[in-house]
């Protein structure tokens, strides 16, 4: 029976839409996997020596153990938002004469192969190997490694429960908040005792049995949970939440684009996929920290600051905007046959992006800490985003014809939407243009001249808004039939 399941899985994998793409994309994807995998392995291997150098008086493994709690919380969070549960696929299996238990074991087993379970071993395996070569006791290291793998698996199963049960979700959320608050107010640092526990795991290798027991326990809990709810309206169903219509009539002041804006707000707040993207664009806000904390960039490569500033305020623009017509792919036929001029539709998307840039700019105020220059360049970058990047993004969207399933979370590495050569070409000017606009006046005149040039380019873009929108509308009109056909294809 398991063999049949595996063959089904294989077919699902082989025939998934992201494998039906061109050879070039396959190669690119493969290279990306190699690249990130390679980085992880390298970091894992180099971690030992790096830690030793920075904290010579502390044993690297103690250091790692102390910080593991953060890693665990981080992984839990990432999984909660990103990991797609495989539950929906078992519907067709329910009426076939297969024992329920087999199906559930299979289902849970499948989650063990999730991409997310391979992140921590990618780091930890090389680290452990280095430890062995450094002459650390073999039994301790190996059992420590297995203990951590058990913990990863525990997170895997815990995430399943969190996703399915509100009680567990709120329980964990409260716990995390308490831990962070205690640490923040210097009342109690939970990392220390937890670090001790992990160090204990290392020093007393037989304790590795405890995480193993936790995995088994969580597996059982999951099993029982699904077993109890193994009905169409139980654990395998999507939760149907009761909803209340939201009143967004205050947005009517935006005139003819108001209906679309209201709709977009609802689309973002009520669907899994756009929520995920908005969350990601929030992380873009912190992108500047990479650059502004390092003297190298400020003193030797200031043109890169222009680049960084685009990301800080442009997170939403870049991640949401590049998929613009796709967000409406599920009901694109309606939009195309209803009483809607294309122009209004595009304009509303433009407003949405401008609004997001402004919000991001307000949120970026703390960057003042790095000085007025930095803050001004973020402001100039925001203007560029509003005045030019919005239009480039909308233009690029015309070439994007990948339908999106709104209420399904994107799976890691299957998210190749917008991942085609034209899309890449379109993405280039968004990032390189600000560097050029900033760098040339900066190089020949001064820092302030660069700032002004960047800000001015954005203002000019805004002045020519109607011209740009008209041009973009023409491009959309031209590709209309192709877009409709592509969006109505089954994924």
């Amino acid at each position: 029976m398991i063999k049949r399941f595996l063959s089904l899985e294989w077919k699902q994998f082989r025939r998934a839409s992201y494998f039906q793409k061109g050879i070039a994309i396959k190669i690119l994807l493969f290279l990306a996997v190699l690249y990130f995998g390679g980085i992880a392995i390298f970091v894992g291997g180099a971690m030992f020596f790096g830690l030793k150098k920075i904290f010579p008086e502390i044993d690297p493994i103690v250091m790692v153990n102390n910080f593991l709690i953060y890693w665990i919380l981080f992984e839990l969070m990432i999984r909660y938002f990103m990991q797609q549960l495989p539950v929906m696929n078992i519907k067709p299996l329910m009426i076939i004469p297969i024992k329920r238990n087999t199906v559930i074991h299979y289902l849970l087993g499948k989650t063990m192969l999730s991409f997310f379970n391979f992140i921590s071993p990618l780091f930890l395996l090389p680290f452990s190997i280095v430890l062995l070569f450094q002459g650390y006791p073999v039994a301790n290291v190996i059992l420590w490694f297995f203990a951590l793998m058990s913990i990863t698996m525990s997170i895997n199963f815990l995430n399943f429960l969190i996703n399915k049960s509100n009680t567990v979700f709120y329980g964990i959320a409260v716990m995390v908040i308490v831990i962070v608050a205690l640490k923040y107010f210097n009342l109690f640092d939970v990392t220390e005792p937890v670090g001790k526990i992990f160090n204990g795991l290392y020093n007393q290798p037989y304790l590795a049995i405890i995480p193993l027991l936790i995995v088994v326990g969580l597996y059982k809990a999951n099993f029982n949970f699904i077993r109890k709810g193994f009905y169409l309206d139980g654990a395998v169903s999507k939760k149907i939440k009761e909803v209340n219509a939201t009143d967004l009539s205050w947005m009517d002041r935006f005139g003819s684009v108001a209906p679309f804006l209201k709709n977009d707000i609802k689309m973002i707040t009520r669907n899994a996929r756009p929520k995920q993207v908005v969350l990601m664009s929030f992380f873009f806000l912190f992108y500047g920290l990479f650059f502004f904390t390092q003297k190298v960039y400020i003193e030797e490569m200031p043109y890169l600051l222009g680049f960084a500033s685009i990301f800080i305020t442009g997170g939403f623009l870049l991640s949401f905007g590049q998929l613009v017509p796709s967000w409406d792919s599920e009901y694109y036929k309606l939009l195309m046959s209803q009483n809607i001029p294309y122009r209004q539709y595009l304009e509303s998307k433009w407003y949405l992006m401008v609004f997001a840039v402004i919000v991001a700019f307000i949120l970026s105020t703390p960057y003042l800490y790095f000085g007025m220059d930095i803050y001004l360049i973020i402001a100039a970058g925001a203007l560029f985003n509003i005045g030019l990047n919005t239009f480039i993004t909308l233009f690029g969207g015309a070439l994007n014809r990948v339908p999106i399933e709104l209420d399904t979370k994107a799976k890691a590495f299957s998210n190749t939407n917008g991942f085609n050569p034209t899309q890449l070409l379109i993405a280039l000017p968004k990032l390189i243009l600000p560097i050029i606009i900033f760098f040339i006046p900066y190089h020949f005149i001064s820092f302030n001249a660069g700032l002004i040039a960047l800000a001015l380019s954005g203002v000019i873009g805004m002045v020519f808004k109607n011209f740009f929108l008209n041009k973009i509308e023409q491009v959309y009109q031209k590709g209309k039939y192709k877009t409709i056909a592509a969006f109505s294809e089954k994924k």
């Binding site: 149907i240 709709n263 009520r270 599920e330 009901y331 309606l334 046959s337 209420d407 039939y481 409709i484």
Partner: protein, 235 residues
């Protein structure tokens, strides 16, 4: 009202629709029947400019459909679920369509309240997103949304499918009323011969993309249609 001339659609050289000449006058209730693949949905998609004609054109109230967008204000349609916005509640969806067609909330409420009978208490005030409604209830919402904003042309693809018997009968009443009393041109396709003959003044039979029968409905029409489809089944 709607003039179709020398219209054809080919996919990779295979013709899926070819209509030499078809005129639908204003206020007619027009029924389109045919087996799967006969070209019904293709014709409706061409009418809504969702696909491009290979040759020929459709004129909707003297507007060339594939060249101008001016037919949109007086034409409305419900073809399939992709005409619904899944993350809205029924009310929000009606208001959205209303806003697009220049109707305020009160207008929409007034119109929708006429159909409480038709909704059978399963559409309004449900606190559910459209995507969580059953297929039949989704269809009810979609059909009523197509009536918002006093359209002059209404296009409904398979409106009877998935509906329960009570609702089917009520829908027939609605369609008849639209064409007879309000002068709306209604285009309906269906697999249910009985329903179309009940509802439509004129019935066109499509087969492999060609018009092979064009009948003014009378007492004998149902028999004739049944004989026709029974015959083509035996071949």
């Amino acid at each position: 009202m709607i003039i179709t001339s020398n219209l054809s659609k080919k996919y990779n050289g295979v013709s899926v629709l070819h209509i030499q000449n078809l005129e639908i006058p204003k206020g007619q209730s027009f029924g389109l029947v045919g087996n799967n693949g006969a070209g019904k949905t293709t014709y409706f998609s061409l009418l809504l400019d969702l696909i491009q004609p290979t040759t020929g054109y459709i004129k909707n109230n003297n507007v060339l459909v594939h060249e101008s967008e001016d037919w949109k204000p007086f034409t409305s349609s419900f073809i399939d679920e992709s005409f619904l916005i899944g993350y809205l509640t029924s009310e929000e969806y009606f208001y959205f369509i209303g806003e697009l067609r220049g109707q305020n909330k009160a207008d929409v409420d007034a119109l929708v309240s006429q159909f409480e009978d038709f909704f059978h208490g399963e559409i309004l005030g449900q606190k559910k997103y459209l995507r969580d409604l059953s297929k039949g209830n989704q269809k009810k919402a979609g059909i009523v949304a197509a009536l918002i904003g006093n359209p002059e042309v209404i296009i409904l693809d398979e409106p009877f499918a998935n509906l329960d018997p009570t609702t089917q009968i009520r829908l027939k009443g609605i369609i008849k009323d639209l064409a007879e009393k309000q002068g709306v041109t209604v285009l309906v396709s269906s697999h249910d011969l009985m329903h179309v003959t009940d509802v439509c003044e004129r019935i066109v039979v499509l087969e492999k993309g060609e018009v092979i029968k064009d009948l003014a409905t009378n007492a004998a029409t149902l028999k004739e249609l049944e004989a026709h489809f029974a015959g083509s089944e035996m071949v």
